[in-house]
């Protein structure tokens, strides 16, 4: 036992697929019970026959075998890719949903911030929402009374306090909501990616507030994709992948593990089966980055992409293109093989060709994927000969850029490395 404030023992969470639809309709339930009734009767008739078709497995484990202990006063960062189970773990610890197996012990008052502004009502004023939201987060009325002035001062929206929240800008709403949350002081605080609220000045302020919370000796669990934030706030790290804990220990080490270990091999690269009927085919696409087993790259590193093309007949006027797609699979940049050397268009001999494409470090943190196409350029139109879309998903991470230190969010996908030269005002030449 000792001084453990959170103790999780083999927690697992099983979810059921609802055959594609999330809502179960009454009709379906009735049908199901009818079917099982009929099956039951059949079973009786056939007695020991075991040929009854089994219901297809329609559940999956979002979390499995999660065990850890957290001491009082520790700040823990939970990292992992999307869908790894981080948020499910927070939902279980904050009692929103129950685990399907295992147990967890929490000692002390638990405050959870899975979202900023839960329960805000648009028709109520700022003042009224502070009370409502505070009470939903678990504050007593006297406690809100006591902290009210501080909360309002922190939010910097004093003058709009008696305006209904629906007339607030989203930034103002978020600031007010975060301020309420910031003054919650339970023994255990569970936070899901909420520090990206408001403008940069406010973000800096809220980050400082969180640093204070951590220094106060409160036990804090953060879920975040922002490595710079977890690195600065947390001492202990949990790296979750596919619903299981892959690493538990120092934060720094957890981030390293996360960046180096990733999804399984077949997802991170693209490999096609050779088809001799095709004149030209994309055979493989992969990242050529040393020994990495994951597609996670620091923001300041060039990407090297290898594309293998099989040509089985002499072909004229075709091109290979590589597009980088954003996380919604919209292309943000496309490049053609002949752009640097137009002769490439003329002809290429049959055989296996490998391209190495270098992408300078211009992508901002986020998730991307690739798409490779082979086009034959006809007289009037372009014929698509082969394509591999949305392959090799990869993540770019901010591992501590001047921007993140200045708390400026990355808003676009591309950030061109422009030169800024300070000119001397008298000589008109670059300053030393």
């Amino acid at each position: 036992m000792g001084n453990h404030i959170i103790r999780a023992q083999n927690i697992g969470k099983e979810y059921r697929y609802h055959s594609g639809k999330r809502r179960v309709m009454l009709r379906q339930a009735l049908e199901d019970s009818l079917k099982s009734g009929v099956n039951l009767m059949r079973m009786k008739a056939k007695s020991q026959e075991s040929s009854m078709p089994k219901m297809p497995q329609s559940t999956f484990w979002a979390l499995r075998n999660i065990s850890f202990e957290i001491k009082s006063g520790e700040s823990v960062g939970i990292i992992g890719s999307n869908g790894a189970g981080k948020s499910t773990l927070l939902k279980i610890l904050s009692r929103i949903t129950a685990p399907s197996e295992g147990k967890a012990y929490l000692r002390g008052r638990v405050g959870s911030l899975l979202e900023v502004g839960t329960g805000f009502h648009p028709d109520l004023t700022g003042r009224e929402n502070v009370y409502l939201n505070g009470s939903i987060l678990g504050m007593r009325r006297t406690e809100i009374d006591r902290k009210f002035d501080e909360i309002v001062a922190f939010s910097e929206i004093e003058e709009f306090l008696d305006t209904p929240v629906k007339f607030f800008s989203s930034g103002m709403k978020m600031r007010l909501a975060f301020s309420v949350a910031a003054y919650l002081d339970p023994e255990i605080l569970l936070i899901d990616e909420i520090l990206s609220v408001g403008d940069t000045a406010f973000q800096k302020k809220s980050l400082n507030k969180m640093e204070n919370v951590v220094q106060d000796g409160r036990t804090v669990l953060f879920v975040s994709h922002n490595m710079a934030v977890v690195r600065s706030l947390c001492t202990k790290g949990i790296f979750i992948e596919n619903g299981e804990i892959k690493y538990l220990g120092e934060m720094e080490k957890a981030i390293e593990e996360y960046l180096h270990n990733g999804d399984t091999q077949n997802q991170i690269s693209f490999v096609a089966n050779a088809n001799s009927n095709r004149k030209i085919q994309i055979m493989a696409v992969e990242f050529d980055n040393e020994t990495r087993r994951s597609n996670r790259f620091p923001h300041d590193q060039s990407l090297r992409i290898k594309i293998k093309i099989a040509i089985r007949k002499n072909l004229y006027r075709f091109s290979v293109s590589l597009s980088i797609l954003d996380k919604k699979l919209n292309p943000i940049s496309t490049s053609y093989d002949f752009e640097k050397d137009e002769k490439q268009l003329l002809s290429r001999s049959p055989g296996l060709h490998t391209y190495l494409v270098k992408v300078p470090p211009i992508l901002t943190p986020g998730r991307y994927s690739l798409s490779v196409r082979i086009n034959q350029l006809g007289r009037k139109r372009v014929n698509l000969k082969d394509t591999a879309e949305g392959i090799c998903p990869f993540d770019i991470y901010d591992i501590g850029s001047p921007r993140s230190r200045a708390n400026i969010p990355w808003s676009e996908n591309l950030s061109l490395p422009l030169d800024w030269i300070l000119m001397d005002s008298t000589t008109g030449k670059p300053e030393k």
Partner: protein, 283 residues
């Protein structure tokens, strides 16, 4: 000093999270701890209800009055339904009071979880407060509409008797009935959205199965037991008995109604708490 306070509090309680089990776990202690949230949720429902309406809380009076006028014309004047010797308007209004409380509570409560699904999936609190708060906020409308009844009693010169002391009991019964139905319907609504379409229909049938436009003495004796299974029969008759002094045999109907209500209420509580932990996954 603060640290010490903290550690004392920590030792006081340990929360255990585990897979849901058991039928008998109402966690009264926790409800008590969260009681202020119930207050704030009710307060929110009341505040928001008539926001941005021109007439505001006057709607709490207008709705039953308009229904009363329609009933008086259609059932009182045209159909000439008997009203036990009382002026038809006040005869039907005494029944409309508990009915409106019941139907408003029931429809709000059954939708309460769905309309607050955002909260349910993002934070923990006793979910039962959502249907309860929508019923408590309907009570405010009831008390406003009750003032009109007092006015009508003066107008029709109906004397208040000792029987009015029993009114709170019938009111409580109406609230518990609404809560019983609300618990069942709101929990079912999370899983089966059909409930949204069932509720208005259910309320319409229920309205005619309750002696609001007519008097329960029209029901043939042999059907009385079945009729009494509708808890609103006992409640509406109770209201008429307590306010108008209508001479009806309360005993048998009231006992049946009360026991039906209690049965639904207790089973509703258990069903609700059984389903509670899956709400966030299903909603």
């Amino acid at each position: 000093m603060k640290k010490k306070e903290c550690s004392e509090r920590i030792e006081q309680k340990e929360i255990l999270l585990e897979p849901p089990r058991g039928w008998l776990n109402l966690r009264m202690k926790e409800l008590w701890e969260f009681r202020e949230l119930l207050y704030f949720l009710t307060w929110r429902d009341i505040k928001v209800r008539y926001k941005q309406t021109f007439l505001g809380a006057a709607w709490a009076i207008i709705q039953p009055i308009i229904t009363m006028v329609i009933f008086s014309i259609v059932f009182g004047k045209l159909a000439k339904l008997p009203s036990e010797g009382f002026p038809y308007p006040i005869f039907t209004y005494t029944a409309l009071l508990p009915w409106q409380l019941f139907s408003r509570s029931l429809s709000d409560a059954s939708a309460s979880l769905i309309s607050n699904k955002h909260m349910i999936s993002k934070i923990y609190f006793p979910r039962i407060f959502l249907p309860i708060s929508s019923i408590l906020s309907s009570l405010v409308d009831f008390f406003i509409a009750f003032l009109v009844l007092l006015g009508m009693m003066v107008y029709y010169e109906i004397a208040i008797t000792w029987r009015i002391l029993f009114l709170p009991a019938f009111l409580l019964l109406a609230v518990i009935s609404a809560l019983a139905a609300g618990l069942w319907l709101s929990a079912l609504n999370v899983r089966y959205r059909d409930i949204k379409y069932v509720t208005p229909f259910l309320l319409r049938v229920w309205l005619y199965a309750t002696p609001i436009a007519y008097t329960s003495s029209l029901i043939p004796k042999e059907w009385e037991l079945v009729y009494g299974l509708n808890p609103m029969v006992g409640i509406v008759n109770g209201f008429r008995w307590a306010i108008l002094g209508q001479s009806i045999e309360l005993s048998s109907l009231a006992i049946i109604s009360t026991s039906v209500v209690l049965m639904f209420f207790i089973s509703g509580l258990f069903y609700f708490q059984r389903m509670e932990q899956t709400f966030a996954d299903l909603i």
